[in-house]
């Protein structure tokens, strides 16, 4: 019993240490943005690498996620004779919840994990010390462009994903449930509000920040060579997933 309590306590301390570390790195990142001197070459490189190359996987995921929403809700709305609400059901779920969360989790697994692995490898091969020895602040040079790129690109990918998911919902509705294109379109247009879309966008900004800060934190604080790099990637993905779920709950609760 005593050992179990000790283990819980040690685990809580570890989590507190990591949360504290992420908060400190966030503070350093914000401080590095004043005055806003960002290495544009690094920023553009990261925008391309993190955003452009993520489009195919986001499109694929979003299309089927949208289609799935129609598959799940379609039979019920048809049974109740409420096909005019089929688009609303799928669109509401996609824009406010499924789209931002699913794309953020995909982004964390692809971009966040890659970012942690890159930074962690640079840390264990002393490249961060190399930057510091050359009077270059690693936070300003490496972390800031990555954080900005991840936040911007997750929002952009979420917007693209939303559009693709609505398309997927319409295609599946038409092909598998015989719902007319125009019915789906009017269902979206008449029932979804701009705020439903913006609600997802707000969330994706918060998710992007969470993924960026956790992936950078575990990358720059890694210890222990190749094994440490693996552990850091694992910790970053888990931390990002937990952060996304917690942020989603509280943002939904607070902003409706």
């Amino acid at each position: 019993m005593r050992q179990a309590v000790a283990n819980v306590g040690a685990g809580a301390l570890r989590v507190a240490e990591e949360v504290g570390g992420i908060v400190i790195l966030t503070g350093q990142t914000l401080r590095a943005l004043v005055p806003p001197r960002v290495d544009t070459r690094e920023l553009v490189k990261n925008l391309y690498k993190m955003g452009n190359r993520s489009v195919p996987i986001v499109v694929l995921t979003a299309f089927f996620a949208g289609g799935l929403m129609t598959l799940q809700t379609g039979p019920f709305v048809k049974k109740l004779g409420a096909t005019a609400l089929a688009g609303w059901g799928a669109g509401y779920a996609v824009l406010r919840e499924i789209g931002p969360i699913l794309i953020a989790l995909m982004f964390s697994g692809r971009v966040g994990a890659n970012n942690t692995a890159e930074l962690a490898t640079m840390t264990v091969t002393e490249q961060l010390d190399g930057l510091r020895a050359l009077a270059i602040d690693p936070v300003r040079f490496l972390v800031v462009p990555r954080v900005l790129a991840m936040m911007v690109m997750l929002v952009a990918l979420t917007v693209i994903g939303d559009l693709v998911a609505l398309t997927g919902a319409s295609v599946v509705g038409h092909a598998m449930l015989d719902i007319e294109w125009s019915t789906m379109f009017h269902s979206f247009a008449d029932n979804l509000r701009p705020y439903d879309f913006l609600h997802g966008v707000y969330k994706s900004i918060a998710f992007g920040a969470a993924i960026a800060m956790s992936s950078c934190y575990f990358g720059v604080t890694v210890r222990g060579g190749a094994v440490g790099v693996g552990r850091a990637v694992n910790a970053a993905v888990v931390a990002a997933a937990v952060s996304i779920m917690l942020l989603d709950f509280f943002l939904t609760y607070l902003t409706g």
Binding site: T121, T125, D129, A133, A135
Partner: protein, 255 residues
Amino acid sequence: MSIDAAIRLRDVHKRYGHHELLAGISLDVPRGGKLGLIGPAACGKSVLLKLICGLEQPDRGDIEVLGESVLRKREPELGPLRQRVGMLFQNYALFDFLSVQANVAFPLEQRGTISARDILERVTARLRAVGLAGSEAKLTAELSGGMKKRVGIARATVADPELVIYDEPTAGLDPVTTQKIYDLLAADQARTGATVLAVSSDVVALARFVDEIAFLYRGHIVHRGPAATILDAPDPLVRQFVRGELEGPLSEARA
């Protein structure tokens, strides 16, 4: 601080867990001087160099470099001092996202005070000097260990720093290249008058380059003397180490 000392360490302590790696190091390196630092593996030589660069902080003691304290300063505050110091890392610390040329140009570009044309000229000359002409476009992952070391030397010295710190400058190099590199470092030092602190396991080659050698053992500097006579140092511990003898006080202490 005396104006003659480029590096001044006073009672520097550094502990990792329960192991006190540095247990009260006091050391001066005169301006324009060349000091070699030797000692058994994992005795804290590289850590000492990182403390001097402000990359790590000591638990206790004072460290002054080129007349400035490196203790308890934030990264931006250390920037101006670090621009006056060049450091070669034991494991190269080359940026794997940049080419050879970009690695060497990096410290000059980041200063933002030198024209692109001048940077290119200086980088080309430096790469030629370390025998890497023609490798400018290669990525560091494509280089052998010895080539990486030479890129690291080029990057550490391209800005003509006042203090150059070399951590194993010739590890992984063949004897001929080792001598060429030391000749290059000596010529550089003669040209710029820079202070040099070098750690190397190749004591014989190091002794030909530096003026003095200090021996770090169990957290203390136990010997410091002229490099030319290091093979005949009065301390039997040092003598055994530099001669690579299997029998002696070093072996007994390890046992």
